[in-house]
Amino acid sequence: MTRKGPEGLLISPIRHGTVIDHITAGQALNVLRILGITGTTSEEVSVATNVASGRVGKKDIVKIENRELRKEEVDRIALIAPDATINIIREYAVVEKKGVEHPRELLGVVRCPNPGCITNTAEPARSRFIVVRNGLRCHYCDWLISKEIAEHIL
């Protein structure tokens, strides 16, 4: 999987920037949201969705010109696209390729959906979630987020 397959034909190569490949099909727009990319920001972005892929069936791909991702951004992407790979591109070549990491704890990444949770008050409590088998558990109130995780990302 080091050489690009047919998707290279779907969206043009980029010179400098990041290609996020093997995104869970249907999650590309959530990835853009996590990265703060909207219609009004200036990045040059290409998106391909539901691309055939031997490895995960269907996948999405996002290419962003002139941008490398910060760790917190990669942690957020890991939540909604656990199989994603991050390719750093310089002069049209992949200079670094890595999978997303799956941290055991997420600090300040997800808002607790429980309105009664102490983290949703004026208290100095930063959101903290433990990654468990079937989702994310709030360190403070034990609330379990098992689906639609993207909606709770800060």
Partner: protein, 298 residues
């Protein structure tokens, strides 16, 4: 320094040690001056007279003194002080803190800011480990905790005492029968968690379906406000009422528990049966809390 915040933090051997200590205390094998000269701070941001009195009684029996925050209205909280600041300040006044607070996770937050041990005496709809420990203690008085078939009955969706108890029992190889009306079933997240730790869960809408198989029946309140109107509430409440006839059909060693106060969930006719353990359960509160105080304060 250790805190007691949630049953999820406790290993089986730690629970066993607390229950063993409570048993020694109940048998009057304890030093009545163990905590002499020590001060316990009771911070109840919502009223729970019985839990508070039970901790005060436990502290007094161990020779210590309790300080009470008093009403929230008269305190700095009314001026908008955060819990974190309150806890930082009062950590200098007392040797341990018992906290009851309406927000879930408040006790865990308090433990981060406290310089003395914190015991969670209930945070909102969240954890209340002293209740769970006394539930386990009461069961253990009647039978060994291993491999029990336990029925949880009532509002299992919002009733988090049942969640904590089920999670604690999963350390002892229990099987759980979740008996609840439509709409108040045990949340799927809890069922997954229990299954993940090897605890089978079966779901039922009528207690008659399972009562013959149970060792323990844990009854909780079904609250009126969960239903659209009084008629539908009464309809459900009456079909979940525990009667003497029902208990007499069960295994002879079945015990019936309830965290109290009860309303109509258990027919007063059950009280006289040897299976009824809910008043005994309430009496064990002081011994169990004495064990908790001696654990964190010595």
């Amino acid at each position: 320094m250790r805190h007691i915040i949630s049953v999820r933090d406790l290993r089986r051997d730690e629970i066993d040690r607390l229950l063993d200590r409570a048993a020694e205390i109940e048998a009057r094998h304890f030093d009545p001056h163990l905590l002499s000269g020590r001060i316990l701070g009771l911070f109840f941001f919502e009223p729970s007279t019985r839990t508070r009195m039970s901790f005060e009684s436990a502290m007094a029996r161990l020779g210590g003194v309790s300080l009470n925050m008093g009403s929230v209205e008269a305190s700095s909280v009314a001026k908008g002080e955060t819990l974190a600041d309150t806890i930082r300040v009062v950590s200098g006044y007392v040797d341990a803190i018992v906290l009851r607070h309406p927000k879930e996770g408040a006790a865990r937050l308090a433990a981060e800011f406290a310089s003395v041990p914190v015991i969670n005496a209930g945070d909102g709809a969240g954890q209340h480990p002293s209740q769970t420990l006394l539930d386990l203690y009461t069961i253990r008085k009647s039978m060994p905790l291993d491999g029990l078939r336990v029925g949880l009955l009532g509002d299992l969706r919002y009733g988090r005492t049942t969640h904590s108890l089920a999670i604690a029992l999963s350390l002892y190889g229990a099987e759980i029968a979740a008996i609840a009306p439509k709409g108040l079933e045990l949340p799927s997240g809890i069922i997954h968690e229990l299954n993940g730790s090897g605890t089978p869960v079966t779901e039922h809408t009528a207690v008659e379906e399972v009562i013959d198989d149970l060792d323990v029946l844990y009854v909780t309140r079904i609250q009126r406000e969960r239903f659209p109107d009084t008629a539908s509430y009464l309809d459900v409440a009456s079909s979940y009422r525990i009667t003497p006839d029902l208990v007499l059909r069960a295994r002879p060693h079945l015990i019936v528990l309830h965290p109290l106060p009860r309303l109509d969930e258990i027919d007063p006719g059950v009280d006289a049966l040897p299976n009824a353990k809910y008043f005994e359960q309430a009496h064990h509160g002081v011994s169990v809390r004495m064990a908790m105080l001696s654990e964190v304060m010595t």
